[in-house]
Symmetry: C2
Subunit: 198 residues, 2 copies
DNA sequence: GTCTATATGTCGATAGAC
DNA sequence: GTCTATCGACATATAGAC
């Protein structure tokens, strides 16, 4: 992933390069030139595959989303029918994603949401979609636990999830990195609490 | 704050305009031109007050940090000596800040940390400083509660704080806004738990 | 599809008068 | 300190040959 194989298709090399650079340095701060150089691709080739930088950004987010979703699906499958394990799966998936992709700078979607404010941006739809899929699934999993107030539990899980992701960005900021916290344990406690009382 | 008084000093008008635009649309996406137009200030005047856009960004972050810190100090003073109230003060301050400044798009520092990746950027020091002051104070307040593991409690408070701030950004992304959660109650529970057992 | 070379717009910053 | 006018650099995107 660090060195794009020169034999891979240009489109793949472009996406690999874009992913690294957009994630690491930010989207606006990354010029198309940098992507081209890293991918060993000529300008015209990029515009043969993507309508423009904005669409490359959209493809980057789509890819990132699909990878995250695949990981979560895998984890979820391994959970079987245990409703509590399923509700906590998002944190297991988070840990597994960290070992597969670059996550040192926090959540890619959170970062993109900061930089992309125009609703007409081609990538904006992926931000909204990712948002909805996440909240819907959390609600569904929370309801599966038999929690008295499933929406409240889902909101708590989302809070912990966001906190963990934001912390990633905070650590990348430098200075003294704050200590990690066992977020999965906190989530487990939340699930337990909601199963007992409303 | 929406309409900069034309009588205010140029520097103030610039900072007001910069704060609104940087926060609302992002730093990189905001051209110097936009700031100048909104502030009713001529280009040369900006560069008479600031060494460049980067330094305007730094001043923006400094101002934002100081306002946040002032609010938190006020809240903290009203807490008296009650260690639990003091440990939870950050969430009260967050609520109060929301009524004083624009917070609809989440944490300004989190956003800036996404866009500013160069350690040599003039604003980078404020990111690091803000980080350290926050974590130090949380640790201090956590220790004041008599928690058995103050560092762990501080980490939990930070997690909830980050989660709440990230959620703000998520809500701004559009789509179906996730329900808010009573983050202060969760924090209170965390404090309580840490006071009882390690 | 891929290349080299180039057009076009925008942004940050400055010059020089007042 | 403030203005008007403008420069120079860079980034996105395209033209035209292969």
């Amino acid at each position: 992933m660090v060195e794009e194989s020169a034999r891979a298709p240009a489109r793949t090399r472009l996406l690999d390069a874009a992913e690294e650079l957009f994630y690491e340095r930010g989207i606006a701060a990354t010029g198309v030139d940098s992507v081209l150089r890293r991918a060993h691709v000529a300008p015209a080739t990029l515009y043969a595959h993507f309508a423009g930088k904005d669409h490359l950004v959209a493809a980057y987010l789509q890819r990132r989303h699909e990878r995250w979703w695949d990981v979560w699906d895998d984890v979820l499958e391994r959970c079987g029918d245990d409703p509590v394990r399923r509700a906590l799966s998002v944190f297991d998936a988070l840990a597994e994603l960290g070992s597969r992709s670059r996550t040192g700078r926090g959540c890619a979607f959170l970062g993109a949401a900061v930089e992309i404010t125009d609703p007409d941006h081609p990538a904006h739809a992926w931000l909204v979609t990712g948002n909805r899929l996440l909240t819907d699934r959390l609600r569904e999993l929370a309801a599966g636990t038999g929690a008295l107030d499933a929406d409240a539990l889902a909101a708590e899980l989302l809070l912990l999830y966001d906190g963990e992701l934001a912390a990633g960005r905070r650590r990348a900021t430098g200075g003294s990195p704050p200590p990690s916290v066992a977020v999965r344990d906190l989530a487990a406690a939340a699930v337990d609490r909601h199963r007992r009382a409303g």
